[in-house]
Symmetry: C2
Subunit: 217 residues, 2 copies
């Protein structure tokens, strides 16, 4: 039978951009790099950030802003690595905005911080629409989610500086085509870096670490 398409327009973008620009200027004035890490739930944001902290904690002063819809164990996991974690609880809200990030930044000593990770709320839909004032966007897509996700959730991938394809350690068990995937991303976002990784085993993480080093220096 036929497909009927109804378009339901909805303005979900607030007057958020000005605040985001303020955040970026504030960070620049203190020489702080902020990276916004986005993905669906369960793709590996916490694992990625934890591994990255372990790599860099003796080299850079790191803080993490954790977005959560409810009180979570992520912040405790992160602080086991001896960095400051600020938990932003949205009380059910599906995204962070620049104003929330500003509140978190105001609690940090930015002169003693080199690198801030935002662990965004776990979904591929609304998070990408809100500029938070980060300098870079890192998007994680994990192998079990499927290689068609950039078509279904394009905004996230169009705005990514880095696309991390996580859980490559289980690639033998899923249909995700790692050969054609870079072409899909390049088609919508030619400048995006694409790094297949396993935050669990450490496979491929060196390229991600090098990218952070380059971006910070």
């Amino acid at each position: 039978m036929a497909v009927r398409t109804l378009t339901v327009k909805e303005n979900i973008l607030g007057a958020n951009n000005e605040k985001a620009e303020e955040n970026r200027k504030l960070l620049d004035s203190h020489h702080v790099l902020m990276i916004n890490v986005m993905s669906s739930s369960g793709s590996g944001k916490t694992s990625l950030i934890t591994r990255t902290i372990q790599q860099f904690r003796d080299k850079y002063r790191i803080a993490v802003i954790e977005g959560n819809v409810s009180p979570s164990i992520d912040a405790e996991k992160i602080t086991q690595n001896n960095v400051l974690a600020i938990q932003l609880n949205t009380s059910g809200g599906c995204h962070l905005d620049a104003q929330m990030i500003r509140k978190a930044l105001d609690t940090l000593d930015l002169d003693r911080t080199d690198l801030i990770f935002i662990e965004n709320i776990g979904n591929l839909v609304c998070t990408a629409d809100f500029d938070l004032g980060a300098h870079k966007n890192a998007v994680i897509l994990s192998i079990p989610e499927g290689d068609d996700k950039p078509y279904k959730y394009p905004v996230m991938f169009v705005e990514a500086d880095v696309v991390l394809v996580n859980k490559v350690d289980v690639r033998a068990h899923f249909d995700f085509n790692l050969d054609t995937f870079p072409g899909i991303i390049s088609g919508m976002n030619p400048s995006a870096r694409i790094y297949p990784i396993s935050a669990k085993t450490g496979e491929g993480m060196d390229r991600w670490f090098s990218w952070i080093d380059e971006t910070l220096n």
Copy 2:
């Protein structure tokens, strides 16, 4: 170091409930059952619905309302099974609401429909907050996402009538504990049915099919 918690309250719930109740009454007056299928992206909503249609297409008259943030191939996949698929494109919006569903229902011949599936937008956060007028909520969590997700995204699981644990065919490769998981769900939602399934291989799907049969009759 310490964890600092900032609470950012946000009212994301609109005056949606009245419309949802109207939808439910409309469906009841035509003896139609509507099931709202929710999950993160890539958990297997389309596969579940496709398999279920294949099971029941000679027994029930089925329609599918597809929520998408951008034009998608899901509706085409569904219509290959000879049922009517209505695509609701939210233009980036992260959730469906009762008013959008009403527009879709108005395009259907409800006297010639027994069962409607809503394939909700792929995320675990904001979709559950909006009553769409469905009679039942089915939530899919897939093995690769991890068994901690009910703690992180509780609303979705508290409101589920059925929790489908999908992709059990790859359970050997992930840490998901299928023995303790039912206890986690029962703790927050004692009446929820919990069905481990593989929409890919068909494993465990008979209990889901039986539940639909019972609910319809």
